[in-house]
Each structure stands twice: as structure tokens, then as C-alpha cells.
């Protein structure tokens, strides 16, 4: 290794970056905006769903039901009472409400006299997941009401009562998981883009010939590009880490040193992967698009970011183990939510190290200073 030449490459890249305002903006803007877009936009939580009520009974019981429905302010928002189903229809069409509950006449009287009454729930099904949530919520509220009434009438307690408590993300905020998980996706994507563009740019312009015709070795040249990408991406890492902690307010429970160390390692893996891609993707456009697709898609699908690992079939599981983000996601979740010790994370850290050595090794092997 000729460290002077490595340094030359790194310094040249920094100089170019500082003078190229738009390029620099892209380097920092892409990860931050991805963080914001994914962090806010990819949430699958359902909250503040607006709903309306048609109460044809106006009894104590009907009011109790309405009260119970609108009690969980976190998830549902009671918009108000409307005169008829037709209005519910209109409200849903106008996006003012997502579902409506119709309580029929003589609701209380009939129930008190032991009859079985049905209530009608009209749900906006355009977004099935949300519709499903609304339905199960209303069902739960009605069930609870039923149970309470049963208790009253029979003066006994319900045989089994389920009490759930979620650990490690007590408030069950998917927002936390998404924001933290997005960090993994962004950290795999952005260094890979930067690195692949670095070489594709030189190749497209023709300045790569300067490298071909000088005595610099492939190892030195690639190390220079890798280090530059690493430094840039460390800055990016700090920015998005702060975003996760202070904007998305994700609690951090683990060992900071272990987390930062493994994140840096992960950045190196991604940078080496980007350099590796540019061996095959010769133009800037193909390098840019290629590195985005090849980093984001597997990260989202197979790292446990959107689909839980436990829900994967054999082939999915195999795929997951081939993707560095899977291991980093384990470390990240461990550090953010669990305070997992270093020893437990060690296998994942070694896996990342392995990936880095593999990618960088392939780079040095495949980078030829003579064209075909």
C-alpha cells in the first residue's frame, strides 16, 4: 500500500465535492430526504381515523357506546353525529370520515328486554389495511360492551381475561421501528450510490485513463475511493442518527460505542458494494439507478424492515441471510430497543466484516487497469 497515493485520491475527491455544489447537495440530500420520506411515509400505524355516528336511539346505552368508541383518542377521532346513512356515505366520499356507525331505534329498549340488536358499521374500504383496523377496533369496543353487560346481568366475572404487554417497544409504536429501520436502509443505499458514481463518473468522462496510465495500484485507488465514501457517509450517518433520536424521538437503550462501530462497519460494506457494482455498471446513470435498486429493494424486503423475518418462508429466509442489511438490522434493533450486549451482536458484526472483505476483495480482483 502506498498511503501517499491513497491520500491523493481522497483529497482530490473532497476538493471536487466541495467545488461541485450540486453534487455535494445530492450526496447529503438523498440520505436525509430518504430518511424523512420513509420515516414519515412508510408508517403502517393507523391513527386518528375520523368517524361519524348516526344515533337513532339517543338512549343511555347508545351514548355509552359512542363514548367508548371515541375514548381512544390516539387512534380514532370522533367527528360528530350525522342525521342519516346517506350523510355517512357523503362524508366518506369527501374523505371527512373513514367509517360510520349506525345505532338503530329502540336499541336500549330491545337490548334491555333481552333481544339481540344489530348495529351497522359502514367502512371506507379503499385502503384495506386501515379498513380492517377500523373494523377490528369497532368489534373490540362492541365486544367489551357486551362483556360488561354480561357481567352486570350475571353478576360473575368473565372466565379468561387477556392482558397484553409489549416489551422493547412498549407503546407499540411502529414509527420507532420505521425510523430506526430506515436508518439501515439509508445507510446501505447512500454510500453505495456515492461509491458507484465515483468510478462511473471517471469512466464516463475518460479521466479513468489517468489511473490506468499511472503506477497507482488497484488496491490504492479503490482504497482511496472507499475512504472518501466512508468519510462522507460517516457525516451522513451522524445526521440521520440525530434525526432518528431527536426528530423521530426513537429511544436509544443500547451501547453507543458498539452501535457506532457497527454502523461504520456497515458503511464500509455498503461502499465496497457500490464500488463492486461500478465494475459492471459503466455509466453514471446505470450506476445510480442500479445501486439504488440493488440496495433498497432487498433491504426493504428481506431485512425485517417491512416483513418480519419470522413470517418468511425458507427461500425468503435464505435470501435475508445473504443481505448485509439483515445483520445490521439485528444490531440496530438490539441497540435501539433492547440494550443487547456486545457478545450477542458479535456474530452479526463478524458477518458484516465478512461481507466487507468479500466485496472489497472482489473489487480489487475485478478492477483491471486495462480495458477489454
Amino acid at each position: 500500500m502506498n498511503f501517499k497515493k491513497v491520500k491523493t485520491i481522497v483529497i482530490k475527491e473532497f476538493k471536487e465535492m466541495l467545488k461541485d455544489k450540486i453534487g455535494a447537495l445530492v450526496i447529503f440530500l438523498v440520505p436525509i430526504s430518504t430518511m424523512l420520506i420513509f420515516g414519515y411515509g412508510m408508517r403502517l400505524d393507523v391513527d386518528k381515523i375520523p368517524f361519524v355516528i348516526v344515533d337513532r336511539d339517543h338512549s343511555t346505552l347508545s351514548r355509552e357506546l359512542v363514548y367508548k368508541l371515541s375514548a381512544t383518542k390516539e387512534y380514532f377521532k370522533f367527528v360528530g353525529e350525522v342525521p342519516s346513512e346517506k350523510v355517512i356515505d357523503r362524508m366518506i366520499l369527501k374523505d371527512k370520515a373513514r367509517f360510520g356507525v349506525v345505532i338503530p331505534e329502540n336499541f336500549e329498549r330491545d337490548i334491555k328486554s333481552g333481544k339481540n340488536r344489530k348495529i351497522l358499521v359502514l367502512i371506507d374500504g379503499t385502503f384495506p389495511y386501515r379498513g380492517e383496523m377500523a373494523k377490528s377496533y369497532v368489534v373490540a369496543v362492541v365486544n367489551q360492551l357486551n362483556l360488561e353487560r354480561l357481567e352486570k346481568f350475571h353478576k360473575g366475572s368473565v372466565p379468561v381475561e387477556l392482558k397484553t404487554r409489549y416489551w422493547f417497544n412498549e407503546s407499540l409504536k411502529q414509527e420507532y421501528l420505521m425510523a430506526a429501520g430506515t436508518m439501515a436502509v439509508v445507510l446501505f443505499m447512500s454510500p453505495a450510490i456515492v461509491a458507484s458514481l465515483l468510478i462511473a463518473k471517471e469512466r464516463e468522462r475518460g479521466s479513468i485513463y489517468n489511473i490506468y496510465t499511472s503506477s497507482i495500484t488497484a488496491m490504492d485507488y479503490l482504497s482511496g475511493k472507499l475512504l472518501y465514501t466512508f468519510f462522507i457517509s460517516c457525516i451522513n450517518f451522524l445526521i440521520i442518527f440525530f434525526l432518528a433520536l431527536y426528530l423521530f424521538k426513537v429511544p436509544f437503550k443500547g451501547d453507543l460505542a458498539v452501535f457506532v462501530f457497527s454502523s461504520f462497519l456497515f458503511i464500509l460494506v455498503s461502499a465496497a458494494f457500490g464500488l463492486f457494482l461500478s465494475t459492471f455498471l459503466k455509466t453514471q446513470v446505470s450506476a445510480f439507478v442500479g445501486s439504488i435498486i440493488l440496495t433498497i429493494v432487498p433491504s426493504i424486503l428481506y431485512s425485517g424492515y417491512m416483513t418480519p423475518i419470522s413470517a418468511m418462508n425458507r427461500s425468503g429466509l435464505l435470501m435475508a441471510h445473504m443481505i448485509p442489511t439483515f445483520y445490521y438490522m439485528k444490531i440496530l434493533k438490539g441497540c435501539f430497543f433492547k440494550n443487547t450486549g456486545f457478545v450477542v451482536l458479535l456474530p452479526y458484526i463478524s458477518a458484516l466484516t465478512g461481507f466487507f472483505l468479500l466485496f472489497f476483495g472482489l473489487n480489487v480482483k475485478f478492477f483491471k487497469k486495462r480495458e477489454k
Binding site: T8, E16, D20, G206, S207, Y209, Y212, T213, S215, R370
Partner: protein, 613 residues
């Protein structure tokens, strides 16, 4: 020991489907300036890249400094001894870095120690005249300056072999002359060997050895002196009957070319034209003559296939005091001229002279800040209907076939149905493109693309045709065929043709020439009148061969002679009459001494030079 020796080099692309270099052999001695000359696609770049050790090759033996470079390990060890500048204006430079930062980077890549670097950088920047601009970004330099910086960067590590791939393409003649001076200087002072490629045939005469290359093969390898002093009788004829003589020449002489009003041909016996009103004189052969004698020339048979459907005034183009300002910058400064109907009019000037801006005003893309431009009697937006335009890049759709391209162009210009069909048929037959009718454009040779682009530009029957650097890098035989078509359009259909070009050679094909610099007209007239005017201003031009041309040119310039090295010859520009003894007095041994012809390049360099100083 030879610096480079190549035997039977073969290089193919696309798994052997495209043969770029087809078994060539050559060798280069120390301190030689070895030039590869030939049209685009001849295999020059591939050859240079192989020698520079940046391209794998299929077969053959390539030795650098006596070592076979097939193995990567060997070639890597030699890389600090060579420098390679790839093709394209400033493409290997880092455009956001300053001149100095660029040079520093190259120095560091080659491990040049700091103190050596600083000394050498100063020397190189002074030699190239870039010192005052050393903090300027490379991206903001003119084409000529970029190439000079490229050479600085190549020389910073004091290489023994410098390989330059088309260093002068796209650079104007003034900068070109400076670049050559620079190359000569370092070859002489540091004993460097230079391997250079160019598509300008006239530049090959500057070499010590030249190889003419075509379709992957070397046609001729020789020293320019030997090549040009071979018994080739080249004549130039001028006069009233020149077009008549041209017709006769196709029957009796070899490689006749009609350049503007001058007919050039090779003949053993000139009696067939002796009773015409012509003045015929014998001239020195050029590399182009040799090239064409080897490859042959073809006659294009033409008939009118469209008529201009409206009346054009005799003064087809009138530009009156045209000015174009961009903010504070005046791109075109009070230019006036008229072009006659059916005239071929050349627009020349260095990079940034305002040619493109002027063309854009003439084609109705820009409105002049003041002054007026009439094209075939029209003004402003209406111009677009009566003109045809062919750009340097040919503006063809490379994934469509020849026929589809023509249909598209026709329809864009509102030619439809049966008229379009018959016109396309005629056009294709005329310029011999029928066999390519259903070929996809991408796969065609450059010369064919050029002819097709021209046909597309005239499919709607324009009154005025604009050609923007139409023949860059095209084979001279193809170029002549192209000019035969242009001349036909101008003479027989009365199409008025405007050409911009960097090729001084091409300027000779024009009837009249307008030379621009910094937005203004600096010379205007027919090629021959411009030449004789320039000769009057210069005085005399002598071509001198001496014992040590490299050091002799220095001696001469020190003594106040305006001397320029040109291959192994020295050209001396002198106000008064010189004799060999005057030169021998200062210790230069003269082998031969004769008057030289003034070239279009001299016209250009002189006009631009006297405009700047």
C-alpha cells in the same frame, strides 16, 4: 533500442465481430514524433491505447522499452515512464479543480517529490503560457487551453514516452500551432518520444515518421519528406474553364478534386486540358494526395431531385450590422455581409469567435440585439421554413433505418405522401444509399451517415443550407464525395450553402470565406484572394531543411526570425527576401531552401494573430 515496437498487432471488439486493428507492425525510435493519421474509426485510438498499456489486445507482440507488455506486471512497472492523453477536449481533466490542482494531482499519482513537482510545474506553466491562469478552474478554459493543460499534466512526471490521442481535434489553428510548438519543445529539450494520432491529414507532415491508417490497416509508413518527395506529379489548375477541366480530369487524371475554384489532380501528362483557359501549375504533394492515391476517389453522379418552389432574391443572405449581446458580453459585434444565391460560403474562426451565435441568428433561433438578417428574403421565425440544417452530430435517429429517418425528416418539414416517397427514392439513388435503405443508422460508417444527414437536411427543398462542421473526422474520399454533392446543390439547384469548419482544408472548398474573431469580421473574401492578401502582408514564406531542425529553429527565433518548426522543415515568415546564406551565417546548416506556398492555415493564424496583438 526501440522505444515502441509492435508486430502484427490485432485488436477486435465485441468478441471478434468488430476488427479495430488488423495486424499492424511499426516501431518508434527515441525522440521521434510518430504520427498516426487517418479518418475516424481507422483504429488509431485502439493502437495508441494498446501501446499505452490501457487496452488488452488479441494478438501480436507489443514491446515498450524492449519489454513485452502482454503481462500486467511488466506494463505496470513501465507506467511511470509513459504518459497518455485520451481523445476528447479536456476529458481526462478534473473540471472543478483549478489548473494547479490538476497538475498536482497528476504529480501525486506518479509520486513526484514536492520540490521536483514545484520546479517542473513552473516550467510547464510558463512554457504553455498558463501561469497567469493557474487558479482558474479547468472547466472554464477554452479548448486549446484545456489541451495545453492536458499536455502539462502528461509531462509533469517527466515521462520518456508521451502518447497523445488526437490532441488537436476541435482546436482552432492558432491553438493548434501552439500545441505543436509545445510538443516539439519537449521532444527536443527532454529527449521525449511522442506517439500522436490526428484526423487532420495536413498535420501528419509535422511528424518525423507518419503512418496513414485506414480500416485497421497501415496504408503507408514513411517519413513525410520521403513520402512527399516521391515522384508524384500534383497539379493545381485555376481559371475560367476549371469546371470543364474537372469533367475531363475524371477521365484522364488521377484523384481530381475541385476545391472552390481550384482543381487539384495527379497526372503524368497534362495535355488534355492544355487548350482550356486555365493556369496550371505543379505543386508539392500533400499527405491527402498520397492518402487518396492509395484509397481512390469516387465520382457522384447527380441529377436535380427537387426544385426550390419560390423565388429567391439574388442576394440570398443579407446580414446588416448584426449585433448580439448576452448581458455585457458582445458575442457578435456589428457583422455585415451578403451571400449570393447558389454560393458556398465558409464561416471560420477560433473557438468562441461568435460563429455559432451568428448561425443561430441566421437560422432564426436568436433575434439579433440590433441589425437585421434576411434569409432568402425572410426574417425572424419565417426563416425556418426555407432552410435546411445539418449539425456536426448529424442529428439522425440512430435506432431508425435510413428510410425511416428520411420519412421522419420529410414529415417534420411538411413533405407528405407521393411527393415525399418519390423524393426519398430519388435522393437515395442519387447518393448511392439504396443498399443501406433498411439498415439501422447506428451501424453505418461515418461517411454514409454524413451523406444521409445531408439528404435529410435537403429533403424539403430548402433555399439555404447550413452545415455546422459537417465533415469532422470523415475519410478524405468520403469528404470529397460530400463536397461534390454540396457543389451540385449549389450550382444546379441554386441552394445557398453556409459552412462552419475548423478544417482549413475544407475552407478551400468554399467560394468565399468570412473569418471571425472575438465577434468581429477580420477577413473576408475568396480563398485565393485571402491567401494572396496574407502573403502580401507576411512578405515571403520559406521552407528550409536544415541539419538539426529542432535546435536550428531556436537559433533562428533568437536572431529575430519568425520561424516555426513544421515536421523536420522550418517555415520562415519574412518581410523581405531571404537567401540561404543569411541563415547559414548564424550557424544553421541549410540542406534545402525554397519558397513555400501560403496555406489557409497561414491566413487564419495571421489574421487572428494580428487581430489580437
Amino acid at each position: 533500442m526501440k522505444v515502441v515496437s509492435v508486430e502484427n498487432l490485432k485488436k477486435t471488439y465485441n468478441r471478434g465481430k468488430v476488427v479495430a486493428v488488423d495486424g499492424i507492425s511499426f516501431s518508434v525510435d527515441r525522440e521521434e514524433i510518430y504520427i498516426f493519421v487517418g479518418p475516424d474509426g481507422a483504429g488509431k485510438s485502439s493502437t495508441l491505447k494498446v501501446v499505452a498499456g490501457v487496452l488488452c489486445y488479441d494478438d501480436g507482440k507489443v514491446k515498450l522499452f524492449g519489454q513485452d507488455i502482454r503481462s500486467d506486471r511488466v506494463v505496470e512497472k513501465l507506467k511511470d515512464k509513459i504518459a497518455f492523453m485520451p481523445q476528447g477536449l479536456g476529458l481526462n481533466l478534473y473540471h472543478t479543480l483549478s489548473i494547479e490542482e490538476n497538475i498536482n494531482f497528476f504529480a501525486d499519482l506518479h509520486d513526484v517529490p514536492y520540490d521536483v513537482r514545484e520546479r517542473r510545474k513552473k516550467l510547464l506553466l510558463e512554457a504553455t503560457g498558463l501561469l497567469p491562469f493557474k487558479d482558474r478552474d479547468a472547466g472554464k478554459l477554452s479548448g486549446g487551453m484545456m489541451q495545453k493543460l492536458g499536455i502539462c499534466c502528461s509531462l509533469i512526471h517527466t515521462p520518456e514516452l508521451i502518447i497523445l490521442d488526437e490532441p488537436t481535434t476541435g482546436v482552432d489553428p492558432v491553438s493548434r500551432r501552439e500545441l505543436w510548438k509545445l510538443i516539439y519543445r519537449f521532444v527536443k529539450e527532454e529527449g521525449i518520444t511522442a506517439l500522436i494520432s490526428t484526423s487532420y491529414l495536413d498535420e501528419a507532415e509535422r511528424s518525423t515518421t507518419l503512418s496513414i491508417m485506414k480500416s485497421g490497416k497501415l496504408i503507408v509508413t514513411s517519413s513525410p519528406e520521403f513520402l512527399l518527395e516521391k515522384k508524384i506529379d500534383v497539379y493545381e489548375a485555376e481559371g475560367e474553364d476549371v469546371e470543364k477541366a474537372y469533367d475531363i480530369a475524371w477521365g484522364c487524371f488521377k484523384i481530381p478534386r475541385l476545391k472552390g475554384k481550384v482543381l487539384r489532380f495527379v497526372a503524368d501528362d497534362i495535355s488534355p486540358v492544355s487548350n482550356l483557359s486555365l493556369s496550371v501549375k505543379k505543386v508539392e504533394p500533400s499527405v491527402e494526395d498520397v492518402f487518396l492515391l492509395n484509397t481512390g476517389l469516387k465520382r457522384v453522379k447527380l441529377e436535380p431531385f427537387f426544385k426550390i418552389s419560390f423565388d429567391i432574391p439574388d442576394e440570398a443572405i443579407v446580414a446588416k450590422n448584426v449585433v448580439k449581446n448576452f448581458g455585457n458580453f458582445t458575442a457578435v459585434d456589428n457583422v455585415s455581409f451578403t451571400v449570393k444565391k447558389g454560393e458556398i460560403f465558409g464561416l471560420l474562426g477560433p473557438n468562441g469567435a461568435g460563429k455559432t451565435t451568428l448561425i443561430k441568428m441566421m437560422t432564426g433561433l436568436y433575434n439579433p440585439t440590433s441589425g437585421e438578417c434576411f434569409i432568402a428574403g425572410f426574417k425572424g421565425e419565417k426563416i425556418k421554413q426555407v432552410i435546411g440544417y445539418m449539425s456536426q452530430k448529424f442529428s439522425l435517429y440512430s435506432d431508425l433505418t435510413v428510410y425511416e429517418n428520411m420519412v421522419l425528416w420529410g414529415k417534420i418539414y411538411n413533405v407528405h405522401g407521393a411527393i415525399l416517397k418519390s423524393r426519398i427514392k430519388e435522393a437515395l439513388r442519387m447518393v448511392d444509399l439504396e443498399k443501406y435503405r433498411n439498415s439501422v443508422v447506428e451501424s453505418l460508417p461515418l461517411g454514409i451517415k454524413q451523406r444521409l444527414a445531408l439528404m435529410c437536411a435537403v429533403i424539403h427543398g430548402p433555399a439555404v443550407l447550413f452545415l455546422d462542421e459537417p465533415t469532422s473526422g470523415v475519410d478524405p474520399a468520403e469528404r470529397d464525395a460530400f463536397w461534390q454533392i454540396i457543389r451540385f446543390l449549389a450550382r444546379e439547384i441554386s441552394v445557398t450553402v453556409i459552412v462552419t469548419t475548423h478544417y482549413m482544408d475544407e475552407a478551400e472548398y468554399c467560394d468565399r470565406i468570412l473569418l471571425m474573431n472575438r465577434g468581429r469580421t477580420i477577413a473576408f473574401g475568396t480563398p485565393s484572394s485571402l491567401k494572396s492578401e496574407t502573403l502580401k502582408k507576411i512578405g515571403m514564406i520559406y521552407e528550409v531543411k536544415t541539419e538539426n531542425p529542432f535546435s536550428d529553429v531556436d537559433k533562428l527565433t533568437k536572431k529575430g526570425f519568425n520561424a516555426v518548426l513544421y515536421g523536420r522543415k522550418i517555415r520562415i515568415y519574412s518581410k523581405g527576401i531571404l537567401s540561404p546564406s543569411e541563415i547559414e551565417k548564424i550557424g544553421v546548416k541549410v540542406f534545402s531552401f525554397k519558397e513555400g506556398d501560403v496555406s489557409m492555415e497561414d491566413v487564419f493564424v495571421f489574421a487572428v494573430g494580428s487581430d489580437e496583438f
